[in-house]
Amino acid sequence: MKSPGMKTLGILLLCAAAVPLVLPGPFYLSIATQVLVYGLFAVSVNLIAGYCGMVSLGHAAFLGIAGYAFALLTTSTGWPLWAAIPAAVALSVAAGALFGLVALRTSGLSFLMITLALGQIVWGIAFRYVDLTNGENGISMPRFQGLLASGTGLYYLCLAVTAGCLALVTILAGSPLGASMQGVRDQPRRMSTLGYDVWRIRYAAYVLSAGIAGIAGVLYMLLFRFISPHTLSLTVSSEAVLMVIAGGLGTTFGPVVGAALVVLLKNVASAYTDRWPTLLGLIFLFIIVVVPEGLLPGARRLMRTFGSRLATRRGPTPIPASPIKEARP
C-alpha cells in the first residue's frame, strides 16, 4: 500500500530517453533495447511473484506464445502489424487464463512445479510441432519498415511500452486490487476471513501477468526478428525470476534493474570472457549474501546504515563546516 514512485518513474524516463544520444553505437543501443524488453518481461514475473507471492517458472511460455503468434501471423498469414500485435497478446492472455485454471489450484512449491511443467509443455510443442513452428530452426522475420527499421526508433518504442506498462503496474500496486494482491501474498488466510476471494485475486494477477509477458514477447520479436524453442525454455523463465529476485521482489523498478544486470553481463562480459555464466553466478551469490532483499531495497538499506554511521562517527558536537553534512539523508 506504499505510495507509488510515479515521480521517480518520470525522472528515470527522462534519463532513459537520453540514452540513445550518449551511447557510442548501434551495438550498445541494441543492448539498451534488450534491457527494456527483458525488463518488461521481468515486470510481468514480478507482478505475480513479487506482488502476489506466487513464483512462476513457466513465464517464458507467455513470452514465446505471443512471439510465435506474432511471427506466424505476420509472415505466414500476412497480417498487418496493427492486427498481429493485439492478436498475439490476446493469445498469451488466453493461455494465461487457461493455465491459471490449472496452476492456481495450488500455491507455493506446487505452483512452481506446475508452472514449470506447463512451460515445458509449450516448449515441447514449439519443438515438436515442426509444421507450424519450424521446430529447432525457429522462425525468422524480414526487416521491418519505417520506425521499426531504425535502432533508435525501436528503442523509443520499447521505452514507451515498457515505461507505460511499468506505470500501470505501479498504479495497480497502490490501488485496492494491488493491496489485495499483496495481502494475499502475506496473509492469504486472513484475506479470505476478511471477505476477499483469494483465488480470483491470484487469477487476475496471473492473467494480467501473462498479458504483460505477451507484450514483452511482441517487443522481443520486433527487436530480434527471430524465435526458436529456446525462447520458451526453462532457462529464459528462470532468468526472469533471477532478474526479479536480484533487483528486488515486489519493488517497482527492481525487475528492470535486475534485467539490466543480466543483459549487460551476458552481452558485455561475454565479449571479454567465456566464463560469464560463472560471473553471473558469483554476482547472484553476492546479492543473496549481502543484499538478500534485492539490489534496490538493499542499496536503500545500506545507504541508511552508512548514513547513520557517518552521523554517529561525527560525535555529539557536529562540526558545522563538515562536508559530510550534505550526505545526510
Binding site: 500500500m1 506504499k2 505510495s3 507509488p4 498504479i171 495497480l172 497502490g174 490501488s175 485496492p176 486490487l177 494491488g178 493491496a179 489485495s180 499483496q182 495481502g183 502475506d186 496473509q187 488466510r189 486472513r190 484475506m191 479470505s192 476471513t193 476478511l194 471477505g195 476477499y196 476471494d197 483469494v198
Partner: protein, 245 residues
C-alpha cells in the same frame, strides 16, 4: 430466527476425531462463552464455522441459511467476523493499513485497479473510527512491526470489527496479555453494541464470566455442558473437565 445453528457437526483429521457431533444454537445478540481445556477442539470449531475447514459431517446455519458448503470469503460476506488465536496481521503494513484491508474486504471497491488506497480519505476516516474503538487511533501510522503484543491483540479485534460482522468469533482475545492490558480489552469488549452476536473462547475466568450469559463447555470434541452461566458453573462436570485443571 437463530443467529447460528450447528447440527451434529463432525470433523476428523485423518484418524483424529476432533469434533464429535456438536449441536448448539446462538440467538441474535447473545454473548456465548466457549470453554474447554487445551486441545478440546475450540479453535477447530471456529475454523469450521468461519469456513477455513470443511466439516466431515453436519450442518452450519447462519441466520437460517445453510452455509456449510460456502467458502470462507462468502461466509465473511454474510456477516461472520473473527479474530485468530495466533496473531494473523499484515506485518509489513501500518496499523491503519491493516484496518483498511479489513474495511475493503466487504466492499466492491476492493476490485478497483487504480486510485491509491493510502490516499483514500473515506477509508482513512472510517479506519480511524474503528481504531478509536480499540484505543489505537493514536498509533494509526505506526508499522505493525513496531507495536507491542497487547496492541497487536487489539488490532486483531479492530480488524474483525471493521468487517461490521453480524456474528463475531473471538478466539482467546486476552491470551498472553498483562493484567492491565486485559482490563483495557475487556472494557472495550463490554462497549460492543448489544445487537452484535458474540461467540468467545477465553480462559480468563473473571473476564469471560463477566462477559457471557451463556456458556458451552467443549471436552474432547463434545459439548458436555451447555446452559446459563449459573448452570454451567454449578455443574460438577465443569469442574471435572476444566476448572480442576
Amino acid at each position: 430466527m437463530t443467529a447460528l445453528r450447528i447440527d451434529d457437526l463432525h470433523k476428523s483429521f485423518g484418524g483424529l476425531h476432533v469434533i464429535q457431533g456438536v449441536n448448539f444454537t446462538v440467538e441474535p445478540g447473545e454473548r456465548r462463552l466457549l470453554l474447554g481445556p487445551n486441545g478440546a477442539g475450540k479453535t477447530t470449531l471456529f475454523n469450521l464455522i468461519a469456513g477455513d475447514l470443511r466439516p466431515t459431517a453436519g450442518q452450519i446455519r447462519l441466520a437460517d441459511e445453510d452455509v456449510s458448503d460456502l467458502p470462507t470469503f462468502r461466509r465473511a460476506a454474510r456477516g461472520i467476523g473473527r479474530t485468530f488465536q495466533i496473531l494473523t496481521l499484515f506485518a509489513r503494513e501500518s496499523v491503519i493499513g491493516n484496518v483498511i484491508m479489513a474495511l475493503l474486504g466487504g466492499r466492491p471497491q476492493r476490485w478497483k485497479p487504480y486510485g491509491a488506497v493510502a490516499k483514500d480519505p473515506v477509508l482513512r476516516r472510517e479506519a480511524l473510527e474503528v481504531l478509536a474503538r480499540v484505543r489505537l487511533d493514536t498509533l494509526a501510522d505506526r508499522p505493525v512491526s513496531e507495536t507491542s503484543y497487547g496492541e497487536k491483540r487489539r488490532l486483531e479485534i479492530a480488524m474483525a470489527l471493521a468487517q461490521a460482522p453480524r456474528i463475531l468469533l473471538l478466539d482467546e482475545p486476552l491470551a498472553g496479555l498483562s493484567k492491565e492490558e486485559r482490563g483495557t480489552v475487556s472494557a472495550l469488549l463490554a462497549e460492543l453494541p448489544r445487537n452484535l452476536t458474540i461467540l468467545m473462547i477465553e480462559h480468563d475466568m473473571d473476564v469471560a464470566l463477566a462477559f457471557a450469559e451463556k456458556i458451552a463447555l467443549l471436552h474432547y470434541g463434545r459439548l458436555i455442558v451447555d446452559g446459563t452461566r449459573e448452570e454451567v458453573i454449578a455443574d460438577p462436570r465443569t469442574r471435572e473437565a476444566y476448572l480442576a485443571q
